[in-house]
Subunit: 343 residues, 2 copies
């Protein structure tokens, strides 16, 4: 295991870690593909399930891969820009939902039980929101780097897969701003209803996104600057967790729009930085489909979900288990005495 | 429970049962929707998971719905048309794969373990294939009706959801012929690679489909005649199981192309006959997408699977469990003390 050695507090340290990201274990990937070809089914007939088994092997760096200890992490943070009225819910809902997570009442609790995943909830200074990004950078460099380091701590030895998600009133506004800064286009193309704004409120939300990006545009050539100026604690933590997972050879399942936008910062820094990540689902938040196209990622499913809190990523753990069960448990043609393809 | 009273052996008896199919339990569906609106998430934020919980309530006829006893049924049959060289695998593979199911080595065995489903395998006279449909009707009326009755026996009291699938070398040929007879178009539009035919062999397969439908066309105004002339034992059994499930208020998950084609016969007989069915996935077999469009069904996921044997339908049971866990286990806004939407 190649864990980060000490908490980082500067972007220089983040960049040093990024330079160390390991590549795929092609030998384990090849062993998975070799076994797959012997199993009692026409070649490729399990489609994406076969691909998932190979992906687990490749990025865990072992064959067979394992899925005994999946972990779901939900990072929660508050956003100064919530004061601009960009959300359908008041900012205190972030802390209320964290209590709901801790008491077991949220969707992600039920989903973790269903797929037998370990749920960790990380509350990030909810009483001290980031700055309103239309007036100042959301975070200082140290705050952003420390939030990333906090996210890194979610990755511990022995975790087989990491499902990531977030909770934070106004964070689809921050995610839209990050995407606009990273990929360009119009604010309205990246801005969606989030928890449920529509009409004039949605137009105001897009205007806030445009305003924020305009304020910080000159500094945003550096994706880490984009993250600190427009992001939030929970989004920085997700970026940190994605990096630390790569260093620890832990494959990652990304959730919806806010989570994927946070991860996109890393891909902007290094085009290979998300190769160990799959995206669970296409969110109903319209910017997500657009973002996935930019990242070159095909989500596993499209259920019209838009809840965040790692709900889609956790649901995907069940699909990974199914993929792995087929890969490791199926008989080969030789074992089963089944005739192969003719000619 | 409203179980069929005795095994049927004629189409007149099948039609009598079809006339008895119960409608949706709208009261249970409404109770599900009412609870859904109180749970700690923005309205609709769990997307299709919310819809699935409501569907289970509506077609089980109770609220809350249950998912303690899911059953996966795989019906296996052999097809005379296999002698025309339409499959990449020899016909003996049907029986070999049944042995593989019974010994626990197939994909569906691993998937049933993953989602904790009871697997039942129904071997249907594998040493006595149906007639080659390019020369004669595949089955007599009595054979077809008895195969349907055999499928009905898969539905027992206490089963919470039924996942259906099949195994039968050459049955994508039969399925393509059924679809061509039911929906028209060109044989090549309904004919796909199945277990892996391509090029000239695929063109020959399409020609066999066209030839079979041409032979029986005049009789195919009756969908049950289409089933007996072009189908097979396992496809008739699936149609029977779908009907019996409706009578017993057991929601059904359909699998890929062959399974959905068998069910389509019922929808051709009664446009409401598949209202209690969802389709798990879009198969890589190209006719499936086309068939789903004709049936007005949106599959849950698209993993490029094309294995049959109820593999996709069984995988979907895990998603149903997740939907139900959220519906029954989540806290309400009032219970959790979470603020509602503003304004």
């Amino acid at each position: 295991m190649n864990q980060p050695r000490k908490p980082v507090a500067s972007f220089a340290e983040i960049r040093a870690l990024l330079a160390e990201l390991p590549g795929p274990d092609l030998e384990s990937g090849t062993r998975a593909a070799t076994r797959e070809a012997t199993l009692t089914k026409p070649a490729g007939a399990l489609g994406r399930l076969e691909e998932l088994a190979g992906w687990l092997a490749t990025w865990q760096g072992r064959h067979p891969p394992q899925l005994d200890r999946p972990r779901t992490c939900v990072f929660a943070g508050n956003h100064g820009v919530a004061a601009r009225g960009v959300s359908a819910y008041p900012a205190e809902v972030t802390a209320q939902m964290v209590q709901n997570f801790l008491r077991g009442g949220a969707a992600v609790n039920q989903l973790c039980k269903t797929v037998d995943a370990d749920l960790r909830v990380y509350e990030m200074a909810l009483d001290r929101p980031t700055a309103d990004f239309t007036r100042a950078p959301a975070m200082s460099e140290e705050e952003c780097a420390r939030a990333m380091a906090y996210g890194m701590m979610a990755v511990e030895p022995g975790i087989d897969v990491l499902a990531l998600g977030e909770m934070g009133i106004a964070n689809t506004t921050a995610a839209a701003a990050i995407c606009l800064a990273l990929f360009g286009g119009e604010a309205a193309e990246w801005t969606g209803p989030g928890t449920g704004v529509a009409g004039a409120a949605l137009a105001r939300k897009a205007a806030v996104v445009a305003e924020g990006v305009a304020v910080h545009k000159s500094a945003c050539a550096d994706p880490l600057e984009t993250l600190r100026r427009l992001g939030g604690y929970e989004l920085a933590a997700i970026a940190g967790a994605v990096m630390a997972a790569r260093l620890a050879r832990t494959p990652v399942v990304l959730d919806g729009f806010a989570c994927t936008a946070a991860a996109a910062v890393l891909q902007a820094l290094d085009p290979r930085a998300l190769d160990h990540c799959i995206v669970a689902h296409v969110s109903a938040e319209p910017g997500h489909r657009r973002l996935l196209a930019r990242l070159g990622k095909t989500a596993l499913f499209d259920f019209g979900m838009r809840l965040g809190e790692a709900s889609g990523a956790t649901l995907a753990i069940g699909l990974l288990r199914a993929a792995l069960a087929c890969h490791t448990g199926m008989a080969t043609f030789a074992e089963a005495g089944v005739s192969g393809k003719e000619k």
